[in-house]
């Protein structure tokens, strides 16, 4: 019965959600009003994310409230108030200005979930600089390509990550002027200490005038071909961050909130930093990686009321069974939501039966900047569905025509590409330096997501797959091209094709098919060598988990590797009309 809807009739709700009726909220919603719920910079100087997230909550008695509740790996617990976070981020903004870093310059972070990350992000935004987080488990190759494309001027990282992943790239990144190292006393050539720089900087910093259309955030996403794309977001995105926190996560200023996403991905910034602070909530930050018992303990001890996590983690918790969570008091938890890849219906229901709260699946992408579809607190959940569009968002199923136009698929249940009417405030404003790729995402006023979906008769959307070869694994969108390029660096590899292989926990895992150069025989030692190289270059989240050797890879007449055919074979599916595929490219 897992697919039965979960009713939210009034009697079933123990708390009045901030949005009482989805239909009424949709009818009455306007982005102008959502914008008016924010403060704007004093003196009408514009709109700045950091002011909305921190400074406006930092004055007077409410400034003593906790913005962050940081839990260190070693058991340390540190609360940082809104006033402290405002002062620290102002210091970092002053420091950036002192270093000659200005508006539009890119400040990168390569950090785990440590307090310096929040100071860096918010300080960069105050200074009018562009903040770009990198995933700290990336290997040197993804780091180098992203910092080169993003023209990083400043990097904030740790001495360990610097030594392992960045030092060897420094010569190839001429734009990178300053590297600030967090928590290290060992002096490293060409680097400054983060804490001493902060110490020496003034906490008096007035945010310069900020146009809502000024660049603010840069998030990288991989492509099926070519180099990674840097999706640019502007300060106006905070309108969606704040509104969606209330509407989709039912989050308010009294709430203790925990987002488990890594700060290196868009969720970790939009909903791991900006959105919860913009509504004045208290953000639990756990430095450690996923660990079931620790997670239940955090939910219990910190009295987490709103929890935003990911399907892979939920499925790992499910594997451990119901007895572990029953040892903890999870009664503070009011609302649980999920993002990353579609959440299977069993997981939604498991949340209700075992944790006492069903998971509310949400859908959005790096390019959308914020939650676009959701199962809402006040509306019935359809387990397995991504939910319905947020108030203010128009979503549709489209089909691309051969002439480059699109047509609406009106009939419920029919497959097509999930699209959003362009123009919401957190819509990406470009791929850095790639105008043509940006334009290709739009047609006739719609943003085309690349996700295939259908809409049912009640307006709920259901994910079906990707329209391209992108791989969804453990919440990350992985581009096969980047992985294939790293595999090709091994001298024995002639060709590589990379697909997403279905996986019960991670949705998909990266599987590589490799053809070797003439005369080289495949064996276990070579498999390990190639796998080891890929892990070294890319990091474990992006590298293949599995490598298979083939004599040669299926290709189109123009020589393009047919990943779809590799995938069809992997799944044991009929290969379809391959003659069409071969001539189609």
């Amino acid at each position: 019965m897992a697919r039965d809807r979960i009713s939210k009739s009034k009697g079933a709700l123990q708390h009045s959600p901030s949005m009482a009726s989805y239909e009424a909220a949709r009818r009455g919603f306007s982005w102008t009003e959502a914008r008016a719920a924010l403060d704007g910079l004093p003196g009408g100087r514009g709109l700045n994310i950091a002011h909305e997230a921190v400074d406006r909550h930092a004055k007077g008695p409410q400034g003593r409230r906790s913005a962050l509740c940081w839990l260190g790996k070693d058991g340390t617990r540190r609360e940082v108030s809104y006033a402290e976070l405002a002062a620290l981020s102002s210091r970092f903004a002053s420091a950036l200005r002192g270093l000659g870093v200005g508006k539009g310059d890119t400040v990168f972070s390569l950090l785990g979930r440590v307090p310096a990350l929040y100071v860096t992000a918010l300080g960069a935004l105050k200074n009018g600089s562009v903040f770009c987080p990198l995933f700290s488990a990336f290997g040197p190759e993804p780091i180098e390509s992203r910092m080169a494309i993003g023209e990083a001027r400043v990097l904030v990282t740790t001495p360990q990550l610097y030594a392992r992943k960045v030092r060897g790239l420094r010569d190839r990144l001429p734009a990178l002027e300053q590297v600030l190292l967090v928590g290290g006393d060992a002096a490293e050539a060409g680097c400054l200490g983060f804490e001493p720089v902060l110490e020496a900087a003034s906490e008096d910093f007035e945010i310069p005038p900020t146009d809502p259309e000024d660049r603010a955030l840069l998030h990288f996403t991989s492509g099926t071909t070519g180099r990674p794309k840097g999706a640019l977001h502007v300060h106006e995105a905070v309108v969606v961050h704040a509104a969606s926190a209330r509407l989709a996560l039912d989050l308010g200023p009294e709430d203790v909130y925990w987002c488990t996403a890594d700060p290196g991905w868009v969720t970790g910034t939009s909903y791991g930093i900006v959105a919860p602070l913009a509504v004045g909530a208290t953000l639990v930050v756990d430095e450690a990686e996923f660990e079931p018992e620790r997670w239940y303990r955090i939910l219990q001890d910190e009295k987490v009321r709103v929890w935003y996590t990911a399907p892979t983690a939920i499925r790992m918790l499910m594997k451990l069974g119901p007895n572990l969570p029953r040892r903890f008091d999870l009664s503070a938890l009011r609302f649980a939501a999920s993002v990353g890849e579609p959440l299977n219906p069993e997981a939604v229901v498991w949340g209700r039966d075992v944790l006492g709260r069903p998971f509310h699946d949400t859908w959005w992408q790096t390019e959308t900047g914020g939650i676009m579809l959701a199962n809402f607190a006040a509306a019935d959940i359809k387990p397995g569905s991504m939910g319905r569009p947020l108030p203010g968002i128009e979503a549709a199923i489209l089909r691309r025509r051969a002439d480059g136009g699109v047509e609406l698929v009106e009939e419920p249940g029919r497959e097509g590409e999930l699209a959003l009417k362009a123009g919401w405030p957190s819509m990406f404003r470009g791929y850095l330096g790639e105008e043509a790729r940006y334009r290709k995402c739009f047609a006739e006023g719609w943003y085309l997501s690349g996700d295939l979906a259908r809409r049912d008769e009640e307006g709920y959307f259901w994910f079906l797959g990707r329209a391209d070869d992108m791989i969804k694994s453990a919440g990350h969108l992985i581009g096969p091209f980047e992985v294939e390029s790293a595999l090709m660096e091994h001298p024995a590899v002639a060709e590589a094709g990379v697909i997403g292989k279905p996986d019960p926990v991670a949705m998909e895992t990266v599987k590589a098919f490799v053809a070797l150069k003439p005369g080289i025989r495949p064996d276990e030692a070579l498999r390990r060598e190639i796998l080891g190289l890929a892990r070294e270059r890319l990091g474990p989240a992006v590298a293949p988990r599995e490598i298979a050797f083939l004599d040669d890879l299926p290709k189109t007449r123009s020589g393009k590797i047919m990943r779809r055919l590799l995938k069809a074979r992997e799944l044991g599916l009929a290969e379809g009309d391959t003659s069409t595929l071969e001539s189609g490219a």
Partner: protein
């Protein structure tokens, strides 16, 4: 199996999943993920492969006990059928 044999088996399985790891530099007391690039999916693959290789059924609730080299050796040693010891 002796402890030394079990340790060799654990390292062999680790090398299947993460061949770029230098086994000699591992601190046996420290969790794998705190000293090498080893994420939670790696860990899951590692534990499943360890169960297959050792023939010991590893209950999911015991997974946290296998977080470090010392933890793996201790756990697998204790779980061995007595006759085989």
């Amino acid at each position: 199996m002796s402890e030394a044999e079990i340790e060799a088996m654990v390292l062999e399985v680790l090398a299947q999943v993460a061949p770029n790891v230098d086994a000699a530099s591992l601190d046996p007391e420290v969790a794998f993920r705190d000293q090498i690039e080893f994420d939670s999916l790696d860990f899951l693959n590692f534990v499943i492969a360890l169960g297959e290789r050792s023939g010991i059924k590893i209950s999911e609730i015991d997974y946290p006990k296998l977080a470090s080299l010392r933890g793996c050796v201790g756990y697998l040693t204790a779980q061995q059928p007595a006759a085989a010891g």
